[in-house]
């Protein structure tokens, strides 16, 4: 298992705190998953049609944005195809769910829209109306 060899030893509590921030992404997903009742979920439709429409790139971009925004209660999952039968035109479909609230679905979520959803909906609570289903 690779470890980043530190350029120099940590010499203060401050340095330790900064370094830890950089590693948060390592374990975030695992720690968030341990407490399902507090977790906000992003589900990305990953059926064959979703993958063809670019769902994997969308998912990875959203994931990086979640870490960049330091959202430590969000998990991103691949789920089975969410499209209605025979109609794949809305893929990639993304669902955002907050505990105890009604979920919001988005259609044709490309990388840019995915990032916007994280920045607006998850970080600030503003639904991205233009992509909403």
């Amino acid at each position: 298992m690779s470890m980043t060899v530190p350029a120099k030893k940590i010499t203060s509590r401050q340095e330790l705190a900064e370094l830890k921030k950089a590693f948060k992404g390592h374990t975030l997903m695992r720690m968030v998953s341990e407490e399902p009742e507090k977790r906000r979920e992003i589900s990305v439709s990953m059926g064959t049609c979703g993958i063809e429409a670019g769902a994997r790139d969308t998912m990875l971009a959203m994931l990086d944005e979640v870490v960049a925004q330091e959202l430590d209660d969000v998990s991103i999952m691949a789920v089975d195809c969410m499209s209605p039968a025979d109609d794949c035109s809305a893929e990639p479909i993304v669902k955002v769910e907050f505990p105890g609230e009604k979920s919001v679905r988005y259609k044709n979520v490309d990388v840019a829209t995915g990032i916007e959803i994280v920045q607006q909906h998850l970080a600030k609570g503003n639904i991205v109306e233009r992509a909403k289903i």
Binding site: V5, K20, F23, G25, S33, E34, P36, V67
Partner: protein, 597 residues
């Protein structure tokens, strides 16, 4: 920075390595590559998930799916269906034996539901071979806090207020031990981690070191800071190669980050740890014997007092604590004494890890709050007695402990309560016995172990325990006399009173506790020459129940010594004088007409 979309955790504890987790890892990586998922997936070998019997266990994040008994051939399906398309592989979910229900998430499983994880919090979550994982989850925060905000006495006061008691068996208050060492005048002091884990049924210390070695290191640094030590020793048995290896990797990484060594975090605190391999004698887990062994002398105990906190390693004040005791400490510093007090029972705060084994449905490592009822451990977590048999006893405390019977099954597990019912906490072995286990045989089994492990320094332990063993052996062979039972008890008490160290002082416990709670069974052996559980071979008789026998001659034909008398239409009889008790006839009889009694 790139982040992984998926993380797959494979249990890489000793238990799962032996059930094939390495092959599973290879197969997973191969399938991930094939499906182009390798770059976005992180595969990590972590420490024990506790549910060893169901291993190898594979956990998939972010959904937190829990797969059991995964084999290499299952990996392609996991990758192609679950990881790629989001369809979990249901056939690999755990199936509860008593209800048949399947669980996708470990937290819903009865085995985990009642557990509270403090000592094992990070086991199975962080990558034990990568300090970055530990740093990402509050790692070394407690040390940083102590070094920058707290005086030595502040640290000791928090540990004292938390009420933490030693998990190595004695239950001694940790904060008080640290205070004694702090108050001892000397400019050289040591801290030792006791990772000898000599109880044959226990493996929690091993699992902690394999799964979360940095918590142990951080805790030792905290102890060193508190008492004013600058050197630490981990005494670990050489039979734990994986734990030794992970610990050494962790120490190297901590040094690279400057979390061990000189001027830690820019303060004037210096601390280094060395690893000392023990040869695995049970008595070397006793603290004074352990210190002798580290000094290169014979691993024999010394008389106490003085205690190691006053006169320890190289005659200097030394704090020695158990692995599980240590891992609680960073969390106590981070979360406060009140948090720790809020877990567990009055006077016995926190949790305890037990190694649950024996005739029970779910075996493995379980961590429960102190004060939980024995019956909850057996029936809720353990899923009840295997094969629907009847519970007979719970053996706790390993070779130094005793057997707890049905009448005490609702006792709340604390250091004090277990002693009250004639057993002890020990290091946390818990072996469930059912109606087929003979209590004389069990007592004999443990005594055999202690006789073997006695260092021989003092007579009551060396000779006395041997006598106890011989008497038990006679009883199990049907040669016991009723006076033997009184003698067992008298001799046991003398050995307890006159032995130098904890080994001798506790060795008679398995005998005394079974005498107390299962006197009827001992009597049956000496008076009726019968073993009610049918375990002592010499006391068994195979007999034909005449009412059931249809005289088919099958038994007669399988008997290797030709001692069954009978012919077609004549009810068969076994000649006891010649029977060698092989059981072949019982297995063969189509009418269950042959029974052992």
């Amino acid at each position: 920075m790139s982040n992984y979309r998926l993380q797959i955790l494979i249990c890489g504890g000793t238990g799962c390595v032996s059930s094939g987790c390495l092959e599973v890892e290879d197969a997973l990586v191969e399938s991930l590559r094939k499906h182009g998922l390798y770059e976005e997936t992180k595969v990590i070998k972590v420490g024990c998930f506790g549910f060893c019997e169901q291993g190898p266990i594979v956990k998939v994040y972010p959904d937190n799916t829990f797969y059991v008994r995964v084999e290499a051939k299952d990996c392609e399906e996991i990758v192609a269906e679950h990881l790629l398309k989001g369809r979990p592989v249901k056939r690999l979910f755990f199936k509860e034996p008593s209800t048949g229900e399947r669980y996708s998430h470990h937290r819903d499983m009865p085995f985990y539901e009642t557990q509270v994880r403090v000592a094992l919090k990070l086991c199975g979550i962080v990558d034990p071979e990568n300090i970055e994982d530990y740093l990402a989850v509050d790692g070394y925060d407690a040390l940083a806090k102590a070094l920058t905000e707290m005086t030595q006495m502040d640290v000791i006061d928090v540990i004292k207020a938390s009420g933490l008691r030693g998990r190595g068996g004695g239950g001694f208050p940790t904060g008080r031990k640290w205070e004694t060492a702090y108050n001892a005048e000397s400019n050289k002091k040591y801290v030792i981690c006791n990772a000898d884990e000599g109880d044959p049924g226990a493996f929690m210390d091993r699992s902690i070191m394999e799964g979360d070695p940095h918590s142990v290191i951080e805790a030792m640094a905290l102890a060193a800071y508190a008492i004013g030590a600058d050197e630490g020793v981990v005494y670990i048995r050489a039979e734990y190669p994986l734990a030794v290896n992970r610990l050494k990797i962790a120490i190297e990484q901590a040094k690279a980050y400057g979390l061990l060594g000189k001027n830690i975090l820019g303060t004037d605190f210096n601390f280094d740890i060395q690893v000392n391999l023990g040869a695995g004698a049970f008595v070397c887990g006793e603290e004074t014997a352990l210190i002798n062994s580290v000094q290169g002398e014979r691993g024999e105990p010394n008389f106490k007092p003085p205690f190691p906190a006053q006169v320890g390693l190289w005659k200097e004040p030394t704090v020695i604590n158990n692995v599980e005791t240590y891992v609680n400490i960073p969390q106590i510093i981070n979360n406060g004494a009140d948090w720790f007090q809020s877990l567990g029972a009055p006077g016995n705060p926190g949790t305890k890890v037990f190694a649950l084994a024996g005739k029970i449905n779910n075996v493995g490592l379980v961590e429960v709050p102190m004060g939980i009822k024995i019956s909850d451990i057996i029936y809720k977590i353990g899923g009840g007695i295997r094969g629907g048999k009847k519970f007979k006893a719970l053996q706790t405390g390993g070779p130094s402990g005793g057997c707890i019977s049905q009448e005490n099954i609702d006792v709340e597990v604390t250091f004090d309560n277990l002693e009250k019912v004639g057993s002890m906490m020990g290091s946390g072995g818990m072996i469930v016995m059912d109606e087929d286990d003979c209590m004389v045989d069990i007592a004999k089994f443990y005594l055999d172990f202690t006789v073997e492990e006695s260092c021989g320094k003092c007579t009551p332990c060396r000779i006395g325990n041997k006598r106890l063993y011989e008497t038990l052996e006679n009883i199990s062979k049907g040669k016991g006399k009723i006076e033997d039972l009184e003698e067992l008890r008298d001799l046991g008490v003398i050995i307890k009173d006159c032995s130098l160290c904890g080994l001798g002082q506790t060795a008679p416990n398995p005998v005394l506790s079974t005498l107390n709670f299962f006197m009827d069974e001992y009597r049956a052996h000496v008076v009726d020459k019968k073993c009610p559980a049918g375990a002592c071979k010499d006391l068994l008789e195979y007999v034909v129940i005449p009412e059931k026998c249809i005289a088919c001659t099958l038994c007669k034909r399988v008997c290797p010594v030709d001692c069954i008398i009978g012919e077609p239409k004549v009810i068969h009889v076994i000649d006891q004088a010649r029977c060698i008790k092989c059981g072949a006839c019982e297995a063969k009889c189509p009418k269950d007409a042959i029974v052992k009694q």
